[in-house]
Assembly symmetry: C2
Homo-oligomer: 361 residues x 2
């Protein structure tokens, strides 16, 4: 005997309000509010009556009404290109985790790298009254992007919110912004130096994305390591591609076809490394016997690659956490300056690097 349930058969019933509770409990609105907030003395008997009504009506506050009255919405916005990227997902987890700890809601928006969509999202978040808007990922390193960032920071600040930049360098001018960065350059230096100290001299850099901050910093670290080992950088060894897997596959095929000589690859991201390794395997070049490979990001799948990928660990989860924590703990009075944090990176040595093979005579 299936008994149909009243709620559904009545369709979308009006949700219970605080007044409903008050009426049922025979008290005033204020009393109900006080019972729920628990920040004010209320007699035990009334409290019980109110709580019974709350349960009976299955009442929950209207967050909109509360936010309107409070003038703040207890939400954190997280804006990224694509939640599917493992490193972004990791950062998102950090943000969500920490937001939950502070009792904040976490709104996620993706932009697919579209500037237009980014602007729209920022406005949406201002409309929401988000306490912070966390932008993750490197940015384009041109005047126009910088200008947009400045505008975002200011309009957000003017509304009592705060822009947080994750994983990109701080703007050059004073701006009400929090920057949680990690040491991209040092990680790249360490990775390259590792290769050099194994004896590699011709190291292919794959992922020289021009005008993109993350990419530029990694490339800079590569260059610095080369220089400090007294090696002249060779433009032929610098492959310009974005961080996508597909792009690196294409690029790597092209490099191999051109017969460029190299004994090691420093891929600017693990995805890039995955693409390179696929092509190397296709062409019968063994990693690390024939070619050593180092990646960047230390995404979880690196340990399932064969050989396990040596890569630069980036603390993405902590990046997300720190972003939230900094905003939550920042004294709103002291908010005008740039608030800049740099997290460390370090090399994870695994199995994709070996000394270069001796030249066949």
């Amino acid at each position: 005997m299936k008994k149909s349930f009243p709620a559904a058969s009545e369709g979308a019933r009006r949700r219970a309000t605080l007044s409903d509770v008050a009426q049922m409990a025979g008290v005033s609105n204020a009393t109900v509010s006080r019972v729920l907030a628990g920040n004010y003395p209320v007699s035990v008997t009334t409290k019980n009556r109110v709580m019974r009504a709350v349960r009976q009506l299955d009442y929950v506050v209207n967050a909109q009404a509360r936010a309107l009255q409070a003038g703040a919405s207890r939400t954190i916005a997280f804006v990224l290109h694509d939640i599917t990227g493992p490193s972004f997902a990791e950062a998102a987890a950090g943000v969500e985790e920490e937001a939950a700890r502070y009792g904040r809601l976490c709104v996620v928006c993706t932009t697919n790298g579209s500037r237009e969509r980014q602007s729209k999202v920022i406005d949406l978040m201002r409309a929401q009254g988000a306490e912070a808007v966390i932008l993750i990922g490197g940015t384009d390193n041109d005047e126009e992007s910088h200008g947009r960032l400045v505008a975002y920071a200011r309009s957000l600040a003017a509304a009592g919110s705060r822009l947080v930049l994750c994983g990109c360098p701080p703007p050059r001018e004073p701006l009400p912004v929090t920057v949680i960065d990690y040491d991209n350059e040092a990680g790249a230096y360490a990775a390259t130096a590792h290769l050099l100290s194994q004896g590699h001299r011709r190291i292919l850099f794959v992922g020289k994305g021009e005008g993109y901050t993350t990419s530029e910093a990694r490339f800079a670290g590569y260059l610095r390591a080369l220089t400090s080992f007294g090696i002249e950088p060779d433009p032929e060894l610098q492959v310009v591609v974005d961080f996508s897997r597909a792009a690196s596959v294409r690029a790597m095929r092209e490099v191999l076809a051109r017969q460029v000589a190299f004994t090691a690859v420093f891929a600017a991201s693990d995805m890039t490394a995955a693409g390179c390794m696929q092509v190397l395997r296709e062409q019968g070049r063994k990693v690390p016997e024939d070619v050593s490979v180092v990646g960047y990001d230390d995404i979880p799948m690196t340990i399932d690659m064969t050989p396990r990928l040596t890569t630069v660990h980036v603390p993405y989860r902590e990046l997300g956490r720190a972003a939230v924590r900094h905003v939550m703990e920042l004294d709103p009075a002291a908010r005008q300056d740039i608030d800049h944090v740099v997290l460390g990176t370090h090399l994870m040595v695994r199995e994709s690097v070996a000394p270069p093979a001796v030249e066949p005579a």
Copy 2:
């Protein structure tokens, strides 16, 4: 000369309201509202004056106020265990993508599998007035879990919202719920049948999570395939573990230590498969020459595994999209019944399966 910017130096200034705009433009609130909504005739000159004020004040609506007035909040909630799992991330992307298409905001909450946290999150979402609450992932298959789901569905429905279950079987009783499922059992059947048709007879099933819907359905498919090939299931070949990588590594080591004989592994998830392959490799067993392996989920990293993993493709992104679409397009009047959709799964044949090696004489 660094000019300091006014907004920041004044600290968190009050954000501009519609009244501010009205005042600056010298019109009434109603007029501003109408200009912004664009759903009402307004003279061109007034419109221009209003728009100028909007730009000058950098005004954006207060979403809370609007939602309060409208009685609806244009947000979709997405609740999952852990955003870091590649398949969940994929589904999340689908939800976000489709939500954006409908102009909805997407709130993400993780529960880490805690029931307590799940309840809290549901209430939070009721408070937010989310139009839909999408729960993704299998559920425990016990009375208590079922009871919770019933309660969620009803209280959400009572508030004009809707519960959407993604990737789990529909509840046994009529309930105001939308279920977007995929054919777990058929996928498992196909995977197992593939192995069987290659000649494998002793197939290890890793990931028999007891009382967990996803796991049970996959196991059922395995069993059915065995039966239809006239093979007696062997309990020794059924390994009980959750879907985590770490658990499968432990389990696989234990199985190998026990010297259980098998020529193929059907892992109930790709993560499980990754763990199994790691252990197999550690112990010098080649895939697929010595042991064939099939996974489940088809997460992106499967193509970077060596050998590339043969696995069952699950349309996670479409799952997320369908969840949103169904709620958005459902006539609220027709909302009482269970709304059930089943998406298909199919086998992705790659390189981790080969016929079993001939017994060494």
